[in-house]
């Protein structure tokens, strides 16, 4: 039986959604200040409108929804996905007002892509957008990587028990420290420390590569944000090909792979457990699958003779594959070059890498290393059971900060989510094919959206059918929040209409 939500349920959901949206409004102050400093007055007005709209929604709902009730688990899920939905609608205002988006749907596509750290975009004439809008594009992808709920948790929520439920709803379930607000702060600490180091490294490199100081700094900051959040936005339409530099490439690879690590892993390594990086199930799984997919692509490209020597082969194959596997989406080749230059082997290897994705509780997307590890271990355990005497007890464990024994419930949930991802990948590929795109290309692009990667082989474009844009938006949303929250929101909508 479906229970119709009561007034109190609406109030508590409205109240906390309002808080998150207030946070989004406050976040827009940063790009507004950027535009003020650089004298981009029309963009400043765009941001004033957008900030006001967010605050009106935020304060309005908080005024209307007054309740003392704390969040339950289902509320947490609905608040997480509902906030992301609303943050997308309102966060798209600066994009839309800039005049660079064909439709409001395109603007929402870009913003959902940003929050979910995907990196696909429909914005046109990127090379002529303001610094303010570029700041917003990159800031929202950095914020999305942290989790916009984590941000709201840090600054706006009182440390209620319910807060943890929204945090889980956003696809992060690790507690680095006993308290959820402390955990949020620890996540910030890791991200901000890397922000400092990474931006500085890119800034200095950018200057050495011939950029003006202001541009070198902004590019460094934005490329850091695109990399760390495994987002993939870059300030120029050429993406990271703009820099033509091995050093810049290596630094960005280090940042996006580090960004794809589980925050619990960072915290373990940072608090003295250095060996964890070699033992952790996710880094082991990632290293194996990354090396395998790089192997396929490298040998495929070498056989086809696409690149003249080992160095160029390494730079191109490793960069795109690492970018795909960490679900970043930076690219040093043209989108269409995946098809016209790399060919089916390269496209396939990249698609597999993107589908697997990186670590849980990080900024990355995809099925994720921990599930690959758990499923593989469970499979091996079943084989060992089959060949052992009946009386033998076969136990298996994996290492993630601590040793964890495999239990059926754990394997089951890993399988469920994996299957959900595979279904979503298949769905996006099939719909793309039905719209007349080549199957392999439709699969590449669909997996890229659903795994929050953002590499493109040219399917995504402003002229793409609106149905596919909507499908990709939903796929990005589902993939980032790992299904359950979005289903909870859908269930909530259904229960309003049909519940008793």
């Amino acid at each position: 039986m479906i229970v119709r939500p009561r007034k109190e349920d609406h109030l508590v959901i409205g109240k906390y959604t309002g808080k998150v949206i207030t946070g989004v409004g406050l976040l827009m102050v940063v790009p507004m200040i950027t535009s003020i400093v650089l004298g981009e007055w029309d963009t400043v007005v765009d941001f004033v409108i957008s900030i006001a709209a967010c605050l009106i929604f935020g304060f309005g709902t908080q005024l209307l929804c007054r309740t003392e009730k704390d969040l339950s688990w289902s509320h947490g899920l609905v608040v997480a996905s509902g906030s992301w939905g609303m943050a997308t609608v309102l966060g798209a205002l600066p994009h839309w007002l800039s005049g660079h988006e064909g439709t409001y749907l395109d603007a929402m596509f870009d913003v959902m892509s940003g929050y979910t750290t995907t990196g696909l975009y429909l914005l046109q004439d990127l090379d002529h957008v303001s610094y303010g809008l570029n700041m917003w594009r990159h800031l929202l992808t950095y914020a999305g990587g942290q989790g916009i709920v984590v941000i709201a948790l840090t600054f706006l929520f009182k440390g209620t028990a319910g807060a943890y439920k929204v945090y889980v709803g956003e696809g992060k379930d690790e507690r680095l420290l006993p308290n959820v607000v402390q955990t949020a702060r620890a996540i910030w600490l890791v991200s901000l420390a890397w922000l400092g180091v990474g931006t500085l490294a890119l800034f200095i490199t950018g200057m050495a590569l011939g950029q003006e100081p202001v541009r070198a700094f902004l590019h460094g900051l934005w490329v850091f944000m695109g990399a760390w959040s495994t987002g993939g936005f870059a300030p120029q339409s050429y993406n990271t090909m703009w820099y033509h530099s091995l050093t810049y490439e290596v630094i960005s690879v280090v940042i996006f792979i580090a960004g794809s690590f589980n925050f619990a892993l960072h915290w373990a390594v940072w608090t003295g457990k250095r060996k964890e990086i070699l033992r952790n199930v996710e880094t082991v799984s990632f290293s194996i699958t990354l090396t395998l997919t790089v192997l396929i692509a490298t040998f495929g490209l070498a056989k086809a003779g696409v690149y003249p020597d080992a160095m160029t082969l390494f730079r191109k194959a490793f960069y795109q594959l690492a970018s795909g596997h960490t679900t970043t989406g930076f690219s040093t080749i043209y989108s269409r070059a995946f098809v016209t230059q790399w060919g089916p082997v390269g496209v396939m290897a990249t698609t597999i890498a993107m589908a697997i994705g990186a670590s849980a509780c990080s900024t990355a997307g995809g099925i994720k290393g921990i599930r690959m590890g758990v499923i593989f271990k469970a499979f091996m355990q079943d084989i060992r059971k089959a060949i052992s005497p009946e009386s033998a007890v076969v136990r298996a464990k994996y290492h993630h900060v601590h040793d964890v024994y495999l239990e059926d419930g754990l394997v089951r949930s890993a399988m469920t989510i994996t299957i959900a991802y595979l279904v979503l990948y298949a769905l996006t590929a099939i719909v793309g094919t039905l719209y007349g795109y080549d199957f392999l290309q439709a699969a590449f692009e669909g997996v890229s959206a659903a795994s929050n990667t953002g590499l493109s082989c040219g399917v995504t474009s402003p002229g793409m059918p609106a149905v596919m844009k909507v499908l990709y938006i939903v796929a990005m949303w589902l993939g980032r929040l790992e299904f359950m929250s979005v289903f909870a929101l859908a269930g909530y909508a259904v229960s309003i209409v049909r519940g008793k």
């Binding site: 029309d42 409108i49 005024l63 609608v89 005049g99 541009r215």
Partner: protein
């Protein structure tokens, strides 16, 4: 019944936004001046690899001088004569080619395209590489000479009066709601402030 009201408002607003979606004027975007265009080169890299091409486009972003030579990026997209900030029709993504050329030649470019500028339109002639051995396998053009075809200019993007009025009105409304929240809202939870200690 407040929540119903909220839903209705949300749907009306959402609907209005979707309606607004279809309302941007359509025109014919500026075609590329090149044969093959940058897109053509990317579509058939093998065919053009090693051949000499003449390429015209808007200089974008910046010049990056590396010793004797320099990188510039030339866009031959729908915006190479007039960009979106100046009111050009939307015509898809940017498209262009990186060009590696002597720093002295690159120095002829005075205006680079960005938010505030439409860059110089320049023509280069050089060798196209599908996977340049010298530059990490990048697709690029190695040019020896550059000619400025049309100088760039400032692209003024004045504040639209309608937008300014809307901004003031919304800001006032947001301020009023903030004040209302202060007076009638729940204590201690609206302001982004850590109250303890």
């Amino acid at each position: 019944m407040r929540h119903w009201l909220r839903l209705v408002v949300a749907f009306v607003l959402g609907g209005a936004l979707v309606m607004a979606a279809g309302c941007r004027a359509q025109g014919t975007p500026e075609p590329s001046p090149n044969t093959p265009s940058s897109s053509g080169l990317v579509e058939e890299p093998k065919k053009y690899d090693g051949s000499t091409v003449t390429f015209t486009g808007e200089a974008i972003g910046e010049v990056m001088v590396r010793g004797e030579n320099a990188w510039v990026h030339l866009n031959d997209d729908a915006y190479y004569l007039k960009n979106v900030e100046e009111g050009a029709q939307l015509g898809g993504y940017n498209a262009g080619m990186p060009v590696w050329l002597p720093a002295g030649e690159a120095g002829k470019i005075t205006t680079f395209g960005d938010y505030k500028h439409e860059g110089d339109v320049v023509t280069v002639t050089g060798e196209f590489h599908a996977a340049c051995p010298e530059h990490g396998g990048d697709m690029d053009i190695h040019a020896t000479a550059l000619e400025v075809v049309q100088p760039g200019h400032r692209a003024a993007d004045p504040i639209k009066p309608g937008k300014a009025v809307l901004a003031v009105a919304l800001a006032l409304l947001a301020g009023a709601l903030f004040a209302a929240n202060r007076v009638w809202g729940q204590r201690g939870e609206i302001a982004p402030r850590v109250r303890k200690g």
